[in-house]
C-alpha cells in the first residue's frame, strides 16, 4: 500500500469512475435534490458524513464479525439494517448535540437510507478487497465525486427551467440529456494519470 496507489484510488473514485455519471449509482437523489443549489450542498454534506461512517462500520462488521463467523451470506441483510439504524442514530444524536448541523443537514438524512450509493460503496469496499485505509480513501473519493456531480448539475438545472425546448422534452427528458452531456464530459477523464 503506497501513496501513489491511494491517490489513484481517490481520483478514480472522484472523477474517472464518477459514481453518478459513470456508474449510475445514487441517481434518485441526484435528480431529486439537484433542482436547487442549496439542497445540493446540504445533501452532499449529509452524504459525505453518512457514507464515511456507514462504510467504516460495515467494513468493520464484515471483517471482524461476518467473515470470522462464516456468515458472509448475511452481508446484504446486515449491511442494509446497519445503514438504516446508523442513519436513525445519527439523526437522534444530531438533534440533541449538533443542533446547528441538524438544521443544515437534518432533512436529508432519512433520504439517505434508500440512497443506493451508501449501500453500493459498502459492497464495493468488500468486493475490491480494500484494507481499512484504502476503504477510507475510496469512500471519501466516492462521496466527493457525488458532491461534485450533484453541485455542478444543480447549477445547470436552474437554467434548464428557462430553456426554450419543445414541450415533450421539457422536464425530465431535458434533465436526462443534460446529464448525458455531463457524463460525456467526465468520460474525457478516462486515462488521466494513467488511471482507469
Amino acid at each position: 500500500m503506497n501513496i501513489t496507489e491511494l491517490v489513484g484510488i481517490f481520483f478514480s473514485a472522484l472523477i474517472i469512475n464518477n459514481i453518478i455519471l459513470m456508474r449510475f449509482i445514487g441517481l434518485c437523489s441526484f435528480f431529486g435534490v439537484s433542482d436547487k443549489m442549496e439542497n445540493s450542498f446540504g445533501m452532499s454534506g449529509a452524504v459525505i458524513f453518512v457514507m464515511v461512517l456507514a462504510s467504516s462500520v460495515t467494513w468493520l462488521v464484515y471483517h471482524y464479525l461476518l467473515l470470522p463467523l462464516g456468515l458472509v451470506f448475511l452481508r446484504t441483510l446486515i449491511f442494509i439494517l446497519v445503514i438504516a439504524s446508523l442513519v436513525q442514530l445519527v439523526e437522534l444524536f444530531m438533534k440533541k448535540y449538533l443542533i446547528a448541523l441538524y438544521r443544515a443537514l437534518g432533512i436529508y438524512l432519512p433520504l439517505i437510507t434508500t440512497n443506493c450509493a451508501i449501500l453500493a460503496v459498502a459492497f464495493l469496499n468488500i468486493d475490491y478487497n480494500y484494507n481499512f485505509v484504502q476503504m477510507l480513501v475510496y469512500t471519501v473519493g466516492v462521496a466527493g465525486g457525488y458532491s461534485l456531480a450533484i453541485i455542478l448539475f444543480s447549477s445547470l438545472r436552474e437554467r434548464l427551467k428557462l430553456a426554450p425546448v419543445p414541450d415533450f422534452i421539457r422536464g425530465y427528458p431535458l434533465v436526462f440529456f443534460t446529464a448525458a452531456l455531463m457524463s460525456l464530459a467526465f468520460m474525457g477523464f478516462s486515462g488521466l494519470f494513467g488511471l482507469h
Binding site: L71, V72, F73, L74, L77, L81, S190, G191, H196
Partner: protein, 187 residues
C-alpha cells in the same frame, strides 16, 4: 414493555431469515464451486488440449508478481507446458489473461478471461486475429513492434494491446526466474 416485544419480534424475523439464507447459501455454493472447477479445466484444455493432467503450482507469497494462478500441464507424466492467469492493466481496468507457455519458452496460446476495454477499440484484444499472433513465438519477443517486439498492435488501442503482451512477458519472466523453463535468452 412494548419496545422489548417489538425488538423481540424483529429479532425472530431476522433469525428466520438468517436460517433460510444459510440454507440457500450452502446449496448454491456447492453448485458454484463445481462450476468453477469445470471452467478451470475447460480453460486449461483449451490451451493444451493434449494434456491429461493439470496441477497447480503455488505462487510464493512474498514475490511481487502479476501472475495470479499457475498450473503445470502434463501428458502421461511428460510436462507439456505451463498455464498462468496473469492480471494486467488495460485501458478500462484489469485484464485477466490466460497464457500457455511450453517448457522451451514458446507461447502456445493466449486467451482473455476478463476485460473491460472500449468497445470498437480495445475490446478487439479478444479476437483471434489479434491473439493468433502470439502462438508459436518465443515469449521474449512477445512485445509490440513499437517496443521492439513482433506483435502488431491493435489500431488505436496500444494500451489494451500492451496489457496482453505485458501479461505474456510477466509469465515468461516468472517461469524463467523460477527455473521452470529454459533461460537461454537475454531479456
Amino acid at each position: 414493555m412494548k419496545i422489548f416485544r417489538l425488538g423481540l419480534l424483529l429479532l425472530v424475523v431476522g433469525f428466520i431469515s438468517s436460517v433460510l439464507l444459510g440454507y440457500v447459501y450452502m446449496t448454491t455454493q456447492k453448485i458454484i464451486a463445481a462450476r468453477q472447477k469445470e471452467n478451470l479445466i475447460r480453460q486449461q484444455k483449451e490451451i493444451f488440449p493434449e494434456a491429461t493432467d493439470f496441477s497447480e503450482i503455488k505462487i510464493e507469497p512474498n514475490v511481487q508478481t502479476k501472475v495470479v494462478r499457475l498450473f503445470q500441464a502434463v501428458q502421461q507424466n511428460k510436462p507439456v507446458g505451463f498455464i498462468g492467469q496473469v492480471s494486467s492493466s488495460g485501458y478500462g481496468g484489469e485484464v485477466l489473461v490466460l497464457v500457455g507457455i511450453t517448457p522451451a519458452g514458446i507461447v502456445e496460446k493466449v486467451r482473455i478471461l476478463k476485460e473491460n476495454e472500449t468497445p470498437g477499440l480495445g475490446k478487439g484484444i479478444v479476437r483471434d486475429d489479434f491473439l493468433g499472433q502470439f502462438s508459436g513465438k518465443d515469449w521474449s519477443v512477445v512485445k509490440l513492434r513499437k517496443d521492439k517486439g513482433e506483435i502488431e498492435s491493435l489500431t488505436g488501442a496500444s494500451r489494451s494491446s500492451r496489457a496482453v503482451t505485458g501479461a505474456v512477458q510477466e509469465l515468461g519472466r516468472y517461469l524463467q526466474s523460477h527455473q521452470l523453463i529454459l533461460s537461454s535468452r537475454v531479456n
